[in-house]
Symmetry: C2
Subunit: 396 residues, 2 copies
């Protein structure tokens, strides 16, 4: 690394509050016949619409593209504002923008909604061209590899051969892992946050509870609820409530809510009051908000894909999964994340070291549990800047 | 302590496998008018039936009685076998019996179903004498103090002025705490396992999810489901599934199930298969089993009582709560219990020390999470034997 680079990396950093400004989601139809998407479990899907956003400019050498893989319930809208009344900034607006961790003055940042999702990319709520009706549960079984397949095709469609980096947390990190294993030549840097080569059994257990809540909701109608007035809203809200607890830490819940009451200083002693404690009120609110923006069938497919994701099982061993990649790795875990505990990042690091790959690993202190990867932007930025610099400078 | 006592406590211990044999649940109606049970929140309840079992013999001096407080979904049947086909041993049969930790050759052990429960003691599924119909949600709001009130009355009914010890884990431990605060003269020894002076906000969050699952089940019918063919079975099963995860540790789930499949060595890749992973199959099984034995309204009342339990809030401070008791305390927590973490036992111990009470505290190593207090019987026995001996010998 050059001295200039070192100065740049260790010099004082100004807090930049600029955003990428107004952005819009774009759509592209890929996998037109006869180039159907051949899914892991054998089904063919065609066409596949992919919703995506880009920020910054692709360099003439096309060597500055960074792909952001979103987590379970995210979408393509990472940064900036949509041109609509009351628009909220993208979900990682603190990290992506001019002068920020993913600096859009320097990098061309891409994010796309995942296959099976419900934010513009083809998923179970999309119309099945063969029937003219929403797929529902007739949508083919989906794996993390299928999500990556769709996004890798988008990258090629954008004329990009190699990505400077692929970055993602949680299910997004699983996509990064699959990407370097499946398309080892396409990725130069892999950033994996709060993730793992496989979900823990406890994680599967929580997902099972969430799915159970959805499928036992009488408004589920075996997934064909789109023409009904009510879908499985109660079940989906419940699924979100239980999942939300796993995204927080005991410490962060204690800090933010403790045992404080919502609208009183005295116990109401009412059995059916669901908003007595602040934490209850918050969870119910989260459940309601989620139902307004997410599809219950997508939730089933995507959580199932998480459950099944298992790099070592698929590639023989973790080390073998990393055999072909020449990517540099940056991995972070978070002290209070109990859904993707640090020990799982250790597994990744050990396998990468065994496979003689370049890896930087940091367990970041944070009270925010699994959500830390979204919230702890500053320490991430400190790691990302030199990592991206060095990756760009490294032999391509 | 005498040398004899010391020898006895430190000498080799034979593993005793005897049980108390055949037992039966007894019932007594207490709080007959005009001595109604005045509940914490103001309602009166009369009569109150209490289901209980006893093991061993009450000494002529009546100084050997030990009361066992059961946890959320337990019952009065702690030890031995009911005289029915296929009967299973009581829920703490490993601890209670001749020569065991609670040695029925030496002690008179009592356990009763808690008020608001559904195992013989008056609760929401009991018939309201005023209407001839089950109480349902018309059952008065219930606190841990009300549970203790009913059991303290049972103890008096049995002719016992003072208990050698009151012992309980989890919600049972909360009852023990309330007992020593409310009836300081009635308790000589207090044994509190995997418990706390208040539930964490995370614990409230999980309870809120469980209750939400029940009340949004369309078969809940505002609690009046007893005459219906189906009660809120789906909701109650879901509540149990999520709660069950919190009773285990990540380590114990990993040990017992890991990511192993239920009936295969290969992924089925089926979205709707709810028994693919062993942990899923196990949870669904637990949900089903629970529904067959528990009342959904009891679940609502009892979890709400746990949420509201807050010793410091009720008595001004924890130290004040322990001001009047002269009981000796034995407190255990378990390394992998994340529902009632060790730090909560520390709070109890600190308050007891500040109140100049006699307290022994041990954090026991165990992989079994919150369930450890039920499963780790051997180390508990090692602590209980000397504790009970010393308590009995201490000035009454």
């Amino acid at each position: 690394m050059s001295v200039d680079g070192a100065d740049e990396l260790t010099g004082p950093r100004e807090k930049i509050t600029q955003t990428v400004g107004t952005v819009e989601t774009k759509y592209v139809d890929l996998f037109a016949p006869p180039h159907e998407l051949l899914m892991s479990v054998g089904a063919k899907l065609s066409p596949v619409r992919v919703a995506y956003e880009t920020y910054g400019e692709l360099s003439p050498a096309k060597d500055n593209a960074i792909f952001v893989c979103h987590a379970l319930t995210g979408d393509a809208h990472v940064a900036g504002l949509h041109d609509v009344e009351g628009a909220k900034p993208g979900w990682w607006d603190d990290l992506v923008g001019p002068g920020k961790g993913l600096d859009t003055n320097r990098y061309f940042v891409i994010c796309a909604n995942i296959l099976g999702g419900c934010k513009g990319t083809t998923g179970p709520s999309s119309i099945d061209p063969q029937t003219g009706q929403p797929f529902g549960l007739r949508f083919p079984f989906l794996t993390v590899a299928d999500m990556v397949e769709a996004h890798a095709a988008l990258v090629r469609h954008l004329g990009i051969d190699r990505l400077l980096a692929v970055i993602g947390g949680s299910l997004g990190g699983m996509q990064v892992l699959e990407w370097v294993a499946k398309y080892p030549r396409q990725v130069r840097g892999a950033v994996i946050l709060a993730s793992a080569a496989k979900l823990t059994a406890q994680g599967i257990a929580f997902n099972a509870v969430g799915r159970r809540a959805i499928v036992t909701d009488p408004n589920f109608h075996k997934g064909d609820f789109y023409s009904q007035e009510n879908g499985p809203k109660m079940g989906l809200a419940l699924a979100r409530m239980v999942a939300h607890i796993t995204y927080l830490s005991e410490a962060s819940i204690e800090m933010k809510f403790g045992r404080r009451l919502q609208n009183s200083t005295q116990f109401a002693y009412e059995l059916m009051k669901e908003t007595e404690f602040q934490i209850e009120s918050y969870l119910h609110h989260q459940g309601k908000r989620f139902v307004a923006r997410f599809d219950a069938n997508s939730y089933l497919y995507l959580t199932r894909a998480m459950d099944y994701f298992d790099m070592a099982d698929k590639y023989g061993s973790l080390e073998q999964a990393f055999e072909k990649t020449e990517a540099r790795f940056l991995i972070t875990s978070y002290t209070t994340d109990w859904l993707f505990p640090t020990v799982q990042s250790h597994e990744l690091v050990n396998a990468l070291v065994a496979a003689r790959r370049h890896v930087t690993f940091v367990e970041l202190p944070s009270p925010y549990g699994h959500d830390s990867f979204l919230l702890e932007v500053d320490p991430l930025e400190q790691l990302l800047r030199p990592f991206l610099e060095q990756t760009r400078k490294a032999a391509p």
